[in-house]
């Protein structure tokens, strides 16, 4: 076995190795040392090589392929690297699909490698054959089927380049079993460009001037930033721009943590369950500066009434997002790290104190009507909000919060304090229940020195609960908090509000979660009373091991504020 150092010296050429071994060398040359996956017939040659290279590449065996792909996503989102998931053909490959779709809509760079039946069997309905290329086309940024070992280096190099460049996304590489067995002369060249693909659009300086003209003359400007800031590593540029201009800034759910929660100009979150002021004032601002976000319907509500009074400036790297949902008065196509820097150089500070006071006043209203009772309740039942507040207290806002999908997700994103970037991992666009537990495993491995707390509902927890096995086996120190209301809470809330309280199939009869955690040898506590909460959270945060905390919260609490589906952002309800 030749070392990677050796092949680097030899211009990455190795004589006569198998396709399967070539896959490993490609991963090593792309700097990958940690992958997630699940073996099976059609990918066994690759696993055989993983066995030989186990000192160089660490493979995490998840308990389901969906767990592998979500873990790869979590890893990518805290490490900033490309996540890798491996699965076999047929059901192994189809089990990846939900995670791939999630990664596409949330722009997460991952490379999925699937085994495939031998090329002479393609199209014969062979055992565990499925057309995974066909199935994955609508949910991948790019996909490629390899039927000859000689195609492996170039396809793998392209896969990593495409996954991480421009607007990142998932790539799927399907490798037939005969290509894995075939011997060939391996030669690797990193991909530096593809002629049909331009991930780095050049910034048009005239557009910068046009935007600056709007911004410098604005009386009520508003910045709405999204995940593009994190993906483009533009946190510092955003902060400088915000501070120099003095413009209030709000974010989408995936933009959270790019600017610290405590920053005086961070006015909170927009969206269906976002903050009161950001949503209401979207329809009052005179210039809306959208940075690395895509005007999702959960952000805009009814488009016909969304920010119609404002000049819209859209900073975006993906040309297909421009004018897709909201027509921009001017747009700056390109990397927001560069465009924010260019704006920062030319922006002028205006006196916006009256405008900023509007945010403060509305925030007070939201505090009085919603936040106070969420965080410091006087009623008997525990609220989800006070659990998050307790986590804030003991993690001091330094934890990575991984949330699943539903009420607890909205509460976690509303109340979690973030001091550092890349601290909010959640399934935003696809809303994948079952995301958080495996994603937290990946998130912790992507940032091992940081505290990772997964906040999960009792519904979503049971969708990927098998990944407790992965935690047990790897001893990865994730902290799991299940907020148990014995309901599919968000659906129940909608049934209460819009379906006359007909709670169809939302009541859950749950197992004893603490006993289950004990079965996996994970330290666990159940909290039913308020006076037990703080000490339990403290014990969890102080623990150096995996930890499970179940909090039995009020069963029929609702999440507010809320913009009813299809309504205008101005119609945000506080109760």
């Amino acid at each position: 076995m030749e070392s990677t150092e050796k092949i680097r010296r030899d211009k990455n050429i190795i004589k006569q190795i198998s396709g399967a071994e070539a896959v490993i060398h490609c991963l090593l040359l792309e700097g990958v040392d940690l992958i997630y996956g699940y073996p099976g017939g059609a990918i066994m040659p690759v696993y055989d090589e993983l066995f030989k290279f186990q000192d160089k590449i660490h493979h995490i065996l998840t308990r389901h392929e969906q767990g592998a792909v979500h873990a790869a996503q979590g890893f990518s989102r805290t490490s900033g690297k490309v996540g890798v998931a491996v699965a076999t053909s047929g059901p192994g490959a189809t089990n990846l699909i939900t995670g791939i779709a999630d990664a596409l809509i949330d722009s997460t760079p991952i490379v999925c490698i699937t085994g495939q039946v031998a090329s002479h069997l393609l199209g014969t309905d062979a055992f565990q054959e499925t057309d995974i290329i066909g199935i994955s086309i609508p949910v991948t940024k790019w996909s490629f089927q390899i039927t000859k070992a000689s195609e492996i280096p170039s396809a793998m190099a392209k896969a990593f380049y495409i996954a991480r460049s421009g607007r990142p996304g998932p790539v799927l590489i399907d490798i037939t079993k005969d290509a894995q067995f075939e011997f060939f002369d391996f030669e690797y060249e990193k991909c530096l460009g593809i002629r049909s693909y331009n991930p780095f659009p050049e910034i048009n300086l005239e557009k910068i001037d046009e935007a600056i003209n709007f911004i410098n003359n604005a009386k009520k400007p508003l910045i709405v930033w999204g995940q593009g800031v994190l993906l483009g590593k533009a946190e510092d540029e955003l902060k400088s721009f915000v501070e120099k201009s003095g413009i209030p800034a709000v974010c989408t759910i995936l933009g959270l943590s790019a600017l610290p929660t405590s920053h005086p100009l961070n006015m909170g979150m927009v969206g269906m369950h976002g903050n009161y002021a950001p949503n209401l004032l979207t329809n009052e601002c005179d210039v809306l500066i959208a940075v690395g976000m895509r005007f999702d319907d959960r952000v805009t509500g009814d488009l016909k009434t969304y920010a119609k009074q404002a000049k819209v400036i859209h900073l975006e790297i993906d040309p297909s997002e421009i004018n897709k949902n909201v027509i921009a008065d001017t747009f700056i196509l390109g990397d927001c790290k560069k465009s924010l820097d260019l704006l920062h150089k030319k922006v002028r500070q205006n006196d916006l104190s009256l405008w900023i006071n509007r945010f403060k006043k509305l925030k007070k209203i939201e505090y009085k009507k919603v936040i106070k009772d969420d965080l410091f309740p006087t009623k008997k039942g525990l609220t989800m909000g006070e659990v998050i507040e307790s986590i804030n207290k003991y993690s001091k806002g330094d934890a990575i919060i991984v949330s699943d999908v539903g009420q607890h997700q909205m509460v976690a994103c509303r109340y979690a304090k973030f001091n550092n970037s890349q601290s909010n991992i959640t399934s935003g666009g696809l809303g994948t229940m079952g995301f958080a537990l495996p994603a937290a495993i990946g998130a912790k491995m992507g940032a091992p020195e940081r505290e990772v707390v997964a906040i999960i509902g009792d519904g979503g927890y049971q969708m990927t609960i098998q990944e407790l096995g992965t935690i047990f086996q790897t001893k990865v120190a994730v902290k799991i908090v299940v907020l148990n209301n014995e309901f599919l809470g968000m659906v129940r809330q909608w049934q209460q509000m819009f379906f006359d309280k007909r709670y169809a199939s939302t009541k859950m009869v749950n197992p004893d979660f603490v006993t289950i955690a004990k079965g996996y040898n994970i330290d666990s506590i159940r909290v039913k009373e308020r006076n037990q909460l703080d000490s339990a959270v403290k014990e969890m945060i102080l623990s150096q091991k995996p930890f499970f905390l179940e909090v039995c919260v009020e069963k029929e609490d609702n999440v507010f504020p809320m913009i009813p589906s299809g309504a205008s952002v101005s119609e945000i309800r506080l109760e």
Partner: protein, 179 residues
């Protein structure tokens, strides 16, 4: 909004699966294709799809951007009928004896400027290239006289304006040299 006919031209790599990628974009938006054809283009190793759709003006731009977003697509354009030169071909298979029994067939062929491609004792095949209404008129004229088979190609079209694909590919080469 009012629907309008657009011709979408897609220049791309000839990769397996790209056809599915492009058609998936229409499927996802529930848009029917009026016609679809693909062939080599004027540039070596570059393929060209010509797709005809009826969509509203506010949709077409987004649709074409989604196509262009595909990694293997070099460039995609859309044009109105006025901006393109386009043609379709149709083949009509007719029983040979009707050529003698139905005298007006000869006149129809002459008037429509159609060609006879092949003649056999059982049938003969007429070919007509032109606009949709021309091939349709011939279809309507021949139908009562007994059509054995009819087939029409997708639209092929070239634009009045320049496409500049070679320039795009050259810029890529230059940029790559710089890197």
């Amino acid at each position: 909004m009012k629907l309008k006919t657009y011709t979408i031209s897609v220049y791309s790599e000839n990769n397996v699966g790209l056809l599915n990628r492009v058609s998936a974009i229409f499927l996802k938006r529930h848009i029917n294709l009026d016609s679809f054809s693909s062939s080599e283009s004027e540039i070596k190793d570059v393929f060209r799809f010509v797709i005809v759709v009826k969509v509203s003006f506010d949709k077409i731009d987004n649709l074409v951007k989604q196509i262009e977003k595909q990694v293997d697509v070099i460039k995609a354009f859309y044009h109105t009928d006025e901006e393109t030169i386009f043609q379709e071909s149709a083949l009509y298979k007719v029983k040979s004896n009707s050529l003698f029994e139905e005298r007006q067939i000869q006149n129809i062929i002459k008037q429509s400027h159609a060609n006879i491609v092949t003649v056999s004792p059982e049938f003969f095949v007429i070919e007509k290239t032109g606009f949709r209404d021309e091939t349709e008129k011939l279809y309507n004229d021949l139908k009562p006289l007994g059509l054995l088979q009819f087939v029409r190609s997708g639209r092929i079209s070239v634009t009045k304006s320049k496409m500049g694909i070679s320039e795009i590919l050259n810029t890529f080469k230059e940029n790559n040299k710089k890197n």
